[in-house]
């Protein structure tokens, strides 16, 4: 009967195609344009206060944007490395010239910008979780906004040990200095190269050394920012595909590498990433708050510009 009715409607030119409804329910309760939820004890961010840095002691978040040129398979692209460190700062001494800081630095995460065609190197969280923390000397030449801040050299060695900062990296998996840092039964550290959809394309085992020096100025009681001088050495030990065994040279690009140091527990305003209310934060809390920090524009990221590398 329905067919006869449809036929009659069709013959009469009365039947039209109208959009239907699927049977699947919406799973997201909030409308796409809903207002962000009110702060209910979760991480809090604001643009930071102004004024002198009276006391630097406490936990800070160090965000580093390191711009490199990657020579891979015949082309040069800018590859930006975004690293997030948790820094425990203690003021060791103070005189008329400077404030000496003792900074306990722990890498919480690292992201790399996509290359052409959406390929992107992923640093699995297992790597920063397995790295040892470092002590880094820092110096403040005053507490007022505009006063200088600088540090000694931070040397971060991945996938090997007992190598001096200027010594050549081991290139063989048989070198006794090479170690399985993250315990994945592969020498060195393992990076995964993923495609645009986040699906693994290949993986690579490397030994990598990053040397960083920070020079900046005091911006406020909870903020220091400035430039980064960096040098990254990398040796590929093994790769699942030729696509992953890119050259080891990572010269700086013409874009400016920079850092922002933000107080992470809100004693003087600014960020408050103490999600569990323990009075201290750890890398887990930093990673949980990462999305919010991105959305809030706390650490605005630069866009890779391949032209700076050519």
């Amino acid at each position: 009967m329905r067919r006869l009715l449809a036929l009659a409607l069709a013959l009469g030119g009365c039947s039209s195609v109208e959009r239907g409804e699927g049977l699947f329910p919406d799973l997201d309760a909030a409308a796409p344009d809903a207002a962000p939820p009110a702060n209910d004890g979760g991480p809090r961010v604001d643009m930071g206060a102004t004024g002198p840095l009276e006391d630097a002691a406490g936990q800070w978040l160090l965000w580093v944007e390191d711009r490199k040129c990657l020579e891979a398979l015949g082309t040069s692209v800018e590859n930006i490395i975004w690293s997030t460190y948790l820094v425990d700062i203690a003021e060791v001494s103070e005189d008329d010239l400077q404030v000496v800081l003792r900074q306990h630095v722990q890498l919480c995460g690292q992201e790399l910008s996509p290359l052409v065609a959406g390929l992107r190197t992923v640093v699995p969280p297992a790597i920063p979780d397995s790295l040892e923390s470092h002590y880094l000397s820092g110096f403040l030449l005053g507490r007022e906004p505009g006063d200088a801040y600088f540090t000694a050299e931070l040397v971060d060695l991945w996938g090997a040990s007992d190598i001096a900062p200027t010594e050549a990296l081991p290139s063989s998996v048989d070198d006794p200095r090479v170690e399985d840092t993250e315990g994945d039964d592969a020498p060195g550290v393992t990076f995964v190269v993923v495609n645009r959809n986040g699906e693994p394309a290949c993986d690579v085992q490397v030994v990598q050394r990053t040397r960083l020096r920070f020079r900046g100025t005091v911006v406020g009681p909870d903020r220091i920012e400035g430039e980064v001088q960096s040098a990254v050495d990398k040796v590929v030990l093994a790769a699942s595909s030729g696509l992953c065994s890119s050259d080891t040279e990572l010269p700086p690009s013409e874009g400016q590498s920079r850092f922002v140091l933000r107080r992470a527990v809100g004693a003087a305003g600014g960020l408050d990433l103490d999600l569990d209310g323990s009075g201290a934060i750890d890398c887990g809390e930093v990673r949980d708050a990462e999305q919010l920090l991105m959305q809030a524009g706390t650490f605005p990221r630069a866009t890779p510009d391949d032209g700076l590398c050519r």
Binding site: R3, A10, S15, G22, V122, P124, G242
Partner: protein, 465 residues
Amino acid sequence: MRSILFAAALGASLPVGAHANPFDLFGAGARAQAMGGAVAALSSDYMATFHNPAGLPFGRNEIGLGIVGSFNRTSILLSPRPSGYDPPAYGQRLNPRVDREDPDGVLGATVGLTLKLFDDDVAIGAAFFVPFDGFARMRTAFPDEQEQYFTNRLRFELVGDRAAGEVIALGLGYRLLPWFSMGMGLMVVPAARTINNVYTPNSTDPSTSLINVDIEQSARAALTAGLRVDPYDWLRIGAAFQDELFVGLEGYNQVQLRGDEDAEPIIQPLNVVRQYSPPRLSGSVALVAPNGLTGTVEGTWQGWSNYLDARAELAGFEDTYDWKLGVEYPVNPRTYFRGGVGWSPSPVPPQTGRTNYVDNDRVVLGLGAGRDFEVWGEELTVDLAIQLHALLVEETRKTVRADGDYPDCAEGVTELCDEVPDLAEDTPLQRAADTQGLQTGNPGFPGYTHGGYIMAASIDVKWRF
């Protein structure tokens, strides 16, 4: 990366192929179109090469030229996507998921001839259709969630492109007795084989790929055969068979990557099928009154269960029986009015699972006229026809599983499938919570409504000598 290279290579390697042909959809010739395609017991001009080659000896020597065109007012309207089912990076697809409305029609020319050989009882015929908008063209699409990376749209599987491909019909008819003839012939469509050698000097920039193309064009043919029995002046019986036929593109891309020389070249096989016409068997009976009024009925079995989709995979269609009724009335010795109606059920089962083969039951209406003129002592015939295909509106809804447990997308899975397998625990790349439940970018999810109409018109001019 490899899929990117595949696309680059394929894009450079597809100048060959075809849509389908309009004879299958509308019938061959204005007379057949006007009568709803019910002419297997009547056709005796060069279009008998398609409808029933046994009819060729019943005609005269002739050459003809025709124009056939159609406009398409069909729509596929997608149901709104519910929230919470997006796979990763769904918003970054090359094309957004959109409806398909009013796709292109077709315009092309038919050319044909019939020649009597040796005596009046042996005739050969040939009919061609050539579209005006490009020769040997092929479009492929995935019927499932994989199409989200390409057009991200749905399309009519059987009535969209089917009217736009070139075709050649050849036939030979032999009248053994004054009331009995038999015939056979070939339906010919293009085919091609391609081997593309691709070298990519920069794997991070596929636009720099170097491509050598090796294409070999050929043809694919299907056997046609028929019988024609005219036991009385008032009775004509016809039976016709056509084997399956499709346009094929075979071959492969061989891809080498700089920096990956130690590995074997990547082989990307190509096996593409379009313009699939199923095997069909038609039986037709026509009654002719003393005043020339002719009525005919025709039934056609079509073996759609053999249907191969664009990826040369069996689509799971069902065989169908089409029915057609036609009438021809001579209002005077030189002028004819014609009409016809047909019913063509869809061979496509309900698309509640993974695939989105879109097709509708169709009602076919035809109307037309013909007139014979005398020009320079010879007979010239002009036939006109219009034909309406009403696609009965249908709504497709993907099935909701009560247990919420959708299978992972893999080869052989026919149900609506999960593109992101559920993880039991976090991995370095994914959080387990982000993978739970159904994630699909299937353009047909959660459903769609489809229907509309196609209007075709044609004119044939035949000179008989």
